[in-house]
Symmetry: C2
Subunit: 141 residues, 2 copies
Amino acid sequence: MGSSETKRSDNYIMKLTSQWIAGFVDGEGCFHVGYYKSGQIQPEFTVVQHTRSIKVLYALKSFFGCGSVRQQKPNLWYYRVRRRSDLLDTIIPFFEKNQLKTRKKVDFIRFRWITIQCSRNNHLNDDGLKWILRIRNLMHK
Amino acid sequence: MGSSETKRSDNYIMKLTSQWIAGFVDGEGCFHVGYYKSGQIQPEFTVVQHTRSIKVLYALKSFFGCGSVRQQKPNLWYYRVRRRSDLLDTIIPFFEKNQLKTRKKVDFIRFRWITIQCSRNNHLNDDGLKWILRIRNLMHK
């Protein structure tokens, strides 16, 4: 965690409700699955905001108790959760309970499936990887 | 109301919670004040979505009981509330009760101020119009 993050975390953290988060993520959230040439599969949950609304990102971090807030561009920041255990134990159960309403729900379901496959190491064999990439290619469409 | 809208309205309408709507609008909503050369001031509340998520727009219309859903581009639809009484009696009180968390809240406060000024016909005199345009120019920044 960078010092700028530490400093900001000391400030007042606004409180969010589960339903507000579900609505906000329906608009602004992204369930992304990275695939690297090394063969690594990297599911990640991200919310991007202009610096003007950075407090919301820290509020999400505080609410979920995991992930990090970092700068992407001069006026753009993101909250991101990448750690597999945080995705499996916190983020995925949250959106199972507080269901998304837009078509982003379909992305979430595919994201969840891939994250679970990875937790079972199914991405380490050719057949498992092939299926993961098939599902991944259906996302964000 | 167009026939396509009537047809879609007959379908299942999903139920939304107030907090989900506040979160979703924090991400996807727009409080806009149009200014036309005729001197007309037109505050409007809009939410735009891809056709994939059009059900959410109809759910918003059903929830608020006002406004309309229309097509903007081939794959883009919007829910919009323009009628002054609907803004004053329904939309503005809703976001006073279910507060926005991002900087969009500042736009909402300016939008509310302008809408109230218009309801008092203050946009019809030069000084009132000047102040409304000043506040309008501060929005979305």
